[in-house]
Assembly symmetry: C2
DNA sequence: CAACTATTCAATAATTTTATTGAATAGTTG
DNA sequence: CAACTATTCAATAAAATTATTGAATAGTTG
């Protein structure tokens, strides 16, 4: 009886640990974070994460074996996506834990943002209240595909590359809030840095689009 | 610039992975789960998890290095506790993920509960609505110390060991709901099994006391 | 069906993780 | 302060994880 109990517990915790181990790797966390934007091919994932194709594939196999991702075949390409929303939510909870409780993590983010004039970031709740009153322009600094799959209503899609050319169309009387994929995505930081240096009033949103969506807030697609 | 961006991401995901790796081990998950009941000494943890003292201590060092647990010295004993509530919440989210999405996990739990007449379990919400209407008796099947640190209001503390002797004091007209530490804790299963075999109407609560508390529901101490 | 493309597989070496053992340490108690 | 207790440390061997390389595979296209 006591033995049976131990066997049950051993198996249960082993299975859970197996799943968590599949997450517990920097590369795979980056992949999970990225797939929060929607499905991507192996090639795209490798490109975005600066990994070799073979290594990317291997990590994807680990995630697939743990039922964390699913695939869709389209022509020569295989598209990977998160197997369900709960996976991104768990990642979000863990990321939150790290951001709030690890001193090293706090320092890392602070140092990075300090150099890029993005220390004064705002969160989703703050954005929501400001959107009502102030003349705020929300900028979505992600690739066009991701913008199309869903974005904050009223936001304007400009990538970091396009931004310098489009500066003259922006008014200096407005306040800009740039967002991208999430807390570890740096597109918004780069955009804010460019804007602030040119004399615009700009801040980044701490969270990204996935957090907006998971919060149940309305979003537009095209 | 691109390089700096990569270095930032590498460091960020590495730090997160380090923390998650500290969780991603069956023994350490069991420790985290156990510490959800409140602080315990190394000896107690080793006893509850059937590990050697040295091995337990080693795993505790890993958890401490990741800032997941804190210590309190009292006499010769060192008491470990979770460093904050968010850690148990994250564990809960991950456990949920596994319970809902891993076929192996579902089978494991089902097989175990089938043998113990605890397949027909109820969850906290169901218990709450039944507590209002029916003549339900809630049994807390945990060690007395844990009961003292907090329990569902009105619940009666009976351990598995004590139960057979106390059966005659229980009425067959009531319905019994047994709870313990959480989904992987088997005290409640054992209690329900004994009760059902003796002709009582009994079910287990799927969740345990930590889930009750984290939900913000009222609890009694003493 | 041959050439091509995206992805996976297999083999390897380097690194990390784990449990076990027994010794060392910090702190308490008589 | 000597004996004792709970915990940690250190050394080890076995097992697992990781990135790299190049070959193999599945599927598409002309």
């Amino acid at each position: 009886m006591e033995l049976e109990k131990r066997i049950f517990k051993d198996k249960a915790y082993f299975l859970l640990a197996k799943m968590i181990k599949a997450m517990a790797n920097p590369r795979r966390l980056e992949i999970i974070d990225l797939l929060g934007q929607g499905e991507k091919s192996v090639e795209e994932i490798a490109g975005e994460t600066d990994m070799s194709i073979a290594n990317t594939s291997q990590h994807l196999q680990v995630l697939k074996a743990a039922n964390l991702v699913e695939i869709r075949r389209a022509g020569n390409y295989i598209h990977y996506r998160l197997a369900h929303e709960g996976i991104y939510k768990s990642w979000q909870a863990l990321r939150e834990l790290g951001l709030e409780r690890m001193a090293e993590m706090e320092k890392l983010v602070k140092d990075f943002r300090e150099k890029r004039n993005t220390l004064e970031a705002l969160n989703i709740d703050e954005l929501l209240s400001r959107m009502k009153s102030k003349n705020i322009v929300v900028l979505d600094i992600r690739p066009a595909v991701e913008f199309k799959n869903g974005h904050i209503p009223g936001s304007i899609n400009i990538t970091v590359k396009e931004l310098p050319a489009k500066l003259k169309k922006l008014s200096k009387n407005k306040e800009y809030v740039a967002y991208c994929r999430g807390p570890f995505c740096v597109f918004a930081d780069e955009a804010v840095n460019i804007l602030v240096k040119k004399g615009f009033k700009a801040k980044r949103l701490i969270e990204g689009f996935p957090e907006w969506k998971i919060k149940g807030l309305p979003f537009e697609t095209i």
